[in-house]
């Protein structure tokens, strides 16, 4: 499908989704979110794609939502178009999703990055939730994903003050995996994705599911789910390949079967 607000480049086994509204610092309009959802749906179904990079390009990840579009809306307007609920498809993406964040990732932009599995940050990155300054709060997971990653007090600081954190602080907080020179961010995210694309896809999927489950359930449930996935993977060709390759001291080649 043709997209208006994003670019989708498939270089199997990876794909790159680039938010592409540079004039408005990649503001997350409902149309853009819809396109990201559709694109990720297609990439999830595409067996040649094994990992995806999500980026806003070299200058900015996404500086929040379209405020001009929201300023005069009512609660009912917002509920009816369920702007934030539509992001569920992004969080549910089953393959590894690597965010490449340069410059501002604010509000919805930050929440979008936090839905990814790994975050590579350029040294120019600034992540934050400035919604408080507009008389609202984050609406796409910010109040829930921040404390699960950085703890209550830093999350409170970020939510209540609206001040963003630098790439270096985000790294210290464990909010991003790596800080790199901004001109290299997308490239390094792509390499990370290519590296992941060599790994067994079903195991990646189960590992991702299991880790995400840790945020949703009590330990006993999470452990039970983990065990089931662990046993399940012994029914896959990739497990046989992986273990035999290990014993034969060669690199495994995985098919996702």
């Amino acid at each position: 499908m043709a997209y208006e607000h994003i670019l989708v480049e498939i270089e199997a086994p990876i794909a790159t989704v680039t938010l592409n509204r540079p004039k408005v610092l990649n503001a997350l309009s409902p149309d853009l979110i819809r396109e990201v959802n559709v694109a990720l749906g297609e990439l999830d179904a595409d067996e040649t794609v094994r990992a995806v990079v999500l980026t806003g390009g070299p200058k900015v990840f996404a500086a929040g939502a379209d405020i001009s579009d929201m300023a005069d809306r009512t609660a009912v307007d917002q509920l009816r178009r369920d702007q934030t609920g539509r992001w569920a498809g992004i969080a549910a993406f089953a393959k590894p999703l690597v965010a490449a964040v340069n410059g501002y990732a604010l509000g919805g932009g930050c929440e979008l990055a936090l839905m990814c599995d790994l975050i590579i940050a350029g040294d120019t990155a600034r992540l934050g939730q400035p919604e408080i300054n507009l008389g609202i709060i984050p609406g796409a997971g910010g109040t829930q994903r921040w404390p699960r990653t950085v703890g209550k007090y830093v999350a409170m600081e970020v939510m209540l003050t609206g001040a963003p954190v630098t790439a270096e602080r985000a790294y210290e907080l464990g909010l991003v995996n790596k800080v790199v020179p901004a001109e290299m961010t997308v490239e390094i995210a792509r390499r990370t994705a290519r590296h992941l694309a060599e790994k067994p896809p079903l195991a990646l999927r189960m590992a991702k599911e299991a880790v995400l489950k840790a945020f949703e359930s009590p330990l006993s449930e999470g452990l039970a789910g983990e065990r089931k996935s662990f046993y399940f993977l012994f029914s896959t060709e990739d497990q046989k390949e992986g273990m035999h390759a290990f014993l034969e001291k060669r690199k495994g080649v995985f098919k996702g079967r």
Binding site: D123, E168, V179, V180, P181, E183, M184
Partner: protein, 265 residues
């Protein structure tokens, strides 16, 4: 509206070198409210102006900078400094952005220390990338002498540049570190006689202005990153910067020039 605001900071561009000169010689270039604003503007402009490839910070007259204008502060005449909280706010809102800008702008910043650098004046000199001074110059952390603590980033800079022992002695004693001692410690890069200082700085700045711009910016970025990271993190960050640099036209041209020189031999 005042018809004309006194120019307490002069900005001159010579070729690709931007000279920022504190210009209150009668006050030993003390920094007051107007100076802060003008200096902030000058530093911001020097960072943004792409035609400026090297920045020099210096003073006019006998001093580099004698620090905050304490007389103005005491009289309550300094725009923002009436309460202790104002003092903190001026540091956070005015000095901090300027000093960070000096240390992070993607071009070399040279302090031409034509004379003493005292208090916040020392903070400016130490925030520059390179320091060249006359033997008559000195660095004085005078804060303790009026019952204040170090500010302007010297608690971070001075231990790194001179070691904690020297830094503590200066912070506790309120006595100056002479330019010759500072030179011996590596805090000052070169000592140059007063009448030759500007020529020497001009020559160095001119040389740097002709060096590959992006490669120098990358070096500054690497050092700033390394100062806040582990050895492993620094090595990895360098490797990515080097990839970006290896893909640049500067490197392509540099290699060509290098090879053509060898052929001529």
């Amino acid at each position: 509206m005042a018809a004309e605001v006194e120019r307490q900071v002069r900005v001159e561009t010579e070729g690709a070198v931007g000279w920022i000169r504190l210009n209150r010689p009668e006050k030993m270039n003390a920094i007051g409210a107007i100076t802060r604003r003008q200096l902030g503007d000058a530093i911001k402009q020097a960072e943004r102006d792409e035609s400026v490839r090297v920045v020099v910070l210096t003073g006019s007259g006998r001093a580099f900078c004698s620090g905050a204008d304490v007389t103005e502060m005491a009289q309550g005449g300094d725009g923002g400094m009436r309460t202790p909280e104002d003092v903190g706010n001026v540091l956070r809102n005015e000095y901090m952005p300027m000093l960070i800008r000096l240390r992070t702008m993607p071009k070399p910043v040279i302090a031409a220390m034509n004379g003493p650098a005292v208090g916040i004046g020392a903070s400016y000199a130490l925030a520059c990338d390179i320091r060249i001074a006359t033997p008559e110059a000195y660095i004085l952390e005078a804060f303790v002498n009026i019952g204040l603590a170090p500010d302007g980033g010297v608690s971070w800079l001075l231990p790194r540049l001179a070691g904690t022992g020297v830094a503590y002695e200066m912070f506790f004693s309120g006595k100056p570190l002479s330019a010759t001692d500072a030179h011996r410690l590596g805090v000052i890069n070169r000592l140059v006689a007063a009448d030759k200082l500007e020529a020497e700085v001009r020559e160095l700045a001119g040389h740097l202005a002709a060096q590959p711009r992006q490669a120098m910016a990358a070096a500054k970025r690497a050092v700033n990153h390394a100062l806040e990271s582990s050895y492993e993190e620094a090595l990895e960050f360098e490797s990515y910067l080097q990839e970006a640099q290896a893909a640049s036209s500067e490197f392509a041209e540099g290699v060509q020039t290098f090879l053509s020189k060898r052929v001529k031999k």
